[in-house]
């Protein structure tokens, strides 16, 4: 059938019209073969614009349309709906992106116009070869997986469970709680972190819709939106979770007492069998195989003898559990960066140079000093404390160290630390070296000003250049840019606001999820403004610092947003599949497996099939078979296929060639 194509050129206000002569584009494209209607309009996505498309489809009996407008990521779905409403197949719509790929990047109007015409021509050439496609349906597993059990993961899981869906949390540590459990007070209200976090931890632990896999890791992810298959490794903790009552007797009597306590960042020690902190969820002991005498050389067994519940099991092994999920939320969080490359601040040279997270533990009642601020080297009260901000943040790539981004939370927690120190120990001199104080947040600047004005914290605009440990003192040399002076301060304690970075597990997880990341290993959003909690990979959502640095209120808000997106997905019984998937011509397929090897979604399998050959014999041949429900239409297989058997609906080799021909014409 001869195609009857309509072309609609959008002005996008002046976004396009300022650098592209839109009426000239419409006129030129109107002369293309197959085009029976071409018109430009101010806002094609508006109701009036869409009505114009619908009317033209009916009036001119259009079989396909080309919209020259913004990126298909913005409005392809809009115009497909418009076409469907007017009675043509929604896959008979092509978008020529003359905004992001043309008007926004060109300054010269003649050039812009010429390019817009070329892009339009390519889209016309393609739409002439489009065939109507029908989207299939795929079922949805009504269960979600949250990876990471910090405040982001906990909040996401609670919100999903509240909506009535099953949700599992996988946490690599023996307890949920994450970084927030290590914090003392929270800005800007100064409520105690544990007081507001532990009730949520308990809720998560007791909620019958939530299952927590603590001390566990995700080891593989297969499937696709609505139908993920995930393998979770439950690491052997050598304690039967179902029997352990959390009484803590084993953790007190264990003879190995010198294990660096990671919960207190190594500033004190724990036993080889341990519960990370009093409010741990699940409140179950874990045996550290690197230190346990029984596990190392078969001698001891004290904990097993003591345990009234009979929960100790030295023979326990790692266990792989496979579950199905409809949606996955990444909530893998952050860590402070290593201070190795910033030793001008002497972190590795003096115990009294600490990071801000270590300072949190020193101020915390459950910390190594019972909440009394004592410096690590000699347990004396520090009388002069210097806080250094932006250590490793805002570094240029040229500097060869640190991170280029602002870590966002440091200005506020440093103000908090300075304020709390002055409140508890008014005889302490507190200096904060800052480059800028960044406090955009509700009641944030007021908080910072209070530290400076009411609590007498010395804020110094400048940076510390060098910290030299000298006897019991730390000689701090820095600049005061306002006074135009070099300051020399003999400090007792130096606190470094270390930049934060995504947890190291995020990168391998992203590979498993086929979710994209930026150069800093933060997960990228489907759209930085309009789809901030979704990954570009369907069914994968983002919560907390794995997407970028953020504080607790922002994390909780994002966690709720991710949960609502998950709920929105899980409340469907079926999802519409993408019909633009690969398919193989079985007669051309030579059985080489190239496609199977490149497919990132494991959508291609090979089958032995009986063929009736031209000479009337039958032959068993090995051919590729695409599972259209799993295929995401990336097209890798079509490129890998040496025999030209693999093709993509909606993006066939012929269509792409036609586009290229039209561009080169």
């Amino acid at each position: 059938m001869q195609q009857r194509i309509g072309v609609f050129v959008c002005h996008c206000g002046t976004n396009i019209a300022a650098t592209v002569d839109v009426s000239a584009v419409a006129a030129a494209l109107g002369r293309e073969p197959g085009v029976v209607f071409a018109r430009d309009y101010q806002y094609m996505c508006s109701q009036a614009g869409q009505d114009m498309i619908k009317d033209a489809i009916k009036e001119y009996k259009l079989t396909g349309i080309v919209v020259c407008s913004c990126s298909p990521r913005m409005h392809e779905a809009t115009f497909r709906k418009t076409a469907a409403a007017a009675g043509i197949n929604p896959y008979m719509v092509e978008i020529a992106n003359i905004r992001e790929q043309c008007s926004w990047i060109h300054k010269d109007k003649d050039e812009g116009t010429e390019k817009a015409i070329i892009l339009g021509r390519a889209a016309i050439a393609k739409v002439c070869l489009n065939v109507p496609l029908t989207a299939g349906e795929i079922p949805v597993t009504k269960r979600a997986l949250v990876i990471g059990g910090g405040i982001a993961g906990i909040q996401t899981a609670l919100d999903i469970a509240d909506a009535g869906f099953e949700v599992d949390i996988v946490e690599k540590k023996p307890t949920i709680g994450g970084k927030m459990a290590q914090l003392d007070k929270t800005f800007p209200t100064l409520d105690c972190a544990a007081c507001i976090l532990t009730p949520k931890m308990v809720d998560a632990g007791q909620n019958e819709k939530i299952h927590i896999y603590s001390y566990s890791e995700v080891v593989s992810v297969g499937g696709f939106v609505g139908n993920f298959t995930v393998q979770i490794k439950k690491k052997a903790r050598y304690v039967d979770e179902t029997k352990c009552t959390g009484c803590g007797l084993c953790t007190e009597k264990c003879p190995v007492k010198n294990v660096p306590n990671e919960f207190n960042l190594g500033m004190d020690t724990r036993h080889a069998v341990y519960i990370p902190f009093a409010q741990a969820v699940p409140k179950v002991a874990t045996i550290d195989p690197n230190y346990c005498l029984m596990l190392k050389n078969g001698k001891c067994g004290l904990c097993s003898k003591l345990c009234g519940a009979g929960a100790i099991n030295y023979k326990q092994e790692d266990e792989i559990i496979e579950n199905k999920y409809g949606a996955i939320v990444a909530a893998t969080g952050y860590n402070p960066i290593s201070m190795d490359k910033f030793d001008e601040f002497a972190y590795s040279q003096s115990k009294d140079v600490i990071t801000s997270l270590e300072f949190e533990r020193l101020m915390n009642a459950a910390g190594p000093t019972g909440g009394v601020l004592l410096r690590p080297s000699d347990n004396e009260h520090p009388k002069t404390i210097v806080f250094v901000q932006c250590v490793g943040s805002r570094c240029s790539a040229d500097a060869g160290k640190g991170k280029e981004y602002c870590s966002k939370i440091c200005c506020m927690y440093t103000a908090k630390h300075a304020m709390l120190t002055r409140e508890k120990y008014p005889d302490t001199d507190v200096y904060v070296f800052y480059i800028d104080v960044r406090t955009p947040g509700k009641n944030f600047d007021e908080f910072y000003r209070r530290a400076a004005e009411q609590y007498g914290v010395h804020y110094i605009k400048g940076m510390v250049g060098k910290v030299s440990p000298e006897g019991k003192k730390l000689k701090v040399r820095g600049s005061d840019l306002i006074a135009d002076k070099q300051l020399h301060i003999d400090a007792d304690l130096v606190v470094l606001a270390a930049a934060i970075e995504p947890d190291k597990t995020a990168r391998p997880l992203a590979t498993m999820l086929t979710a994209s990341m930026d150069t800093n290993d933060f997960f990228t959003e489907a759209h930085p403004k309009l789809r901030p909690v979704e990954s570009p990979t369907a069914g994968v959502f983002l919560s907390g610092c794995c997407q970028g640095p953020k504080d607790i209120p922002e994390t909780v808000a994002q966690a709720g947003a991710a949960a609502s997106k998950v709920i929105g997905l899980l409340c469907h019984d079926k999802l519409t599949a993408n019909p633009c998937v690969a398919h193989s011509d079985e007669w051309m397929c030579n059985g080489c497996s190239s496609c199977e090897n490149v497919c990132p979604y494991h959508a291609i399998t090979y089958v032995e099939k009986e063929f009736r050959m031209p000479d009337r014999t039958t032959k068993i041949r090995r051919v590729a078979s695409v599972n259209p429900a799993v295929c995401q239409g990336c097209g890798a297989c079509t490129v890998a296929c040496p025999s030209g058997a693999m093709d993509l609906f909606g993006f066939s080799g012929k269509q792409i060639s036609a586009e290229v021909d039209a561009i080169c014409r």
Partner: protein, 130 residues
């Protein structure tokens, strides 16, 4: 036509190979500089004044000869700006002018003693003399 000042600025940026626009004004260079108290203009000011083209005062300042080229500022700068190279480029712009040699073979004798290593003398000539 570019002004003399603009040409001077371009020349300093070119010979130093430093990108002064990268500076975020943290002052770490000046916080770590061992000659800070002897300088009228401090490392961060060299960077800023070259960025803004206010170079004349630097050319005439004794600060040019106080920088020890110890590279502490270069190593510690979080932005990779290399302030010491900026100072050196300004110093060269000054001493390359006719009659601006800071040190002369005749004048050096008064600084010498029996123990002074050759290294000190050749280094000083390289720093102070074209």
């Amino acid at each position: 036509m570019k002004s003399k000042n603009e040409l001077l600025r371009e020349n300093i940026i070119r010979t130093s190979g430093a990108d002064v626009k990268k500076c975020m004004k943290c002052g770490k260079c000046s916080g770590t500089c061992p000659s800070y108290d002897e300088m009228e203009y401090h490392p961060h000011q060299f960077v800023y004044m070259v960025e803004t083209g206010d170079i004349e005062p630097l050319l005439n300042s004794e600060s040019l000869y106080k920088c020890l080229t110890c590279f502490a500022c270069v190593d510690r700068c979080p932005r990779g700006v290399q302030p010491a190279k900026v100072v050196e480029a300004v110093r060269l712009a000054a001493i390359r002018q006719q009659g601006k040699n800071r040190l002369t073979p005749d004048g050096v004798e008064k600084y010498l003693d029996d123990e002074i290593p050759q290294q000190a003398i050749v280094s000083a000539f390289r720093k102070y003399t074209k």
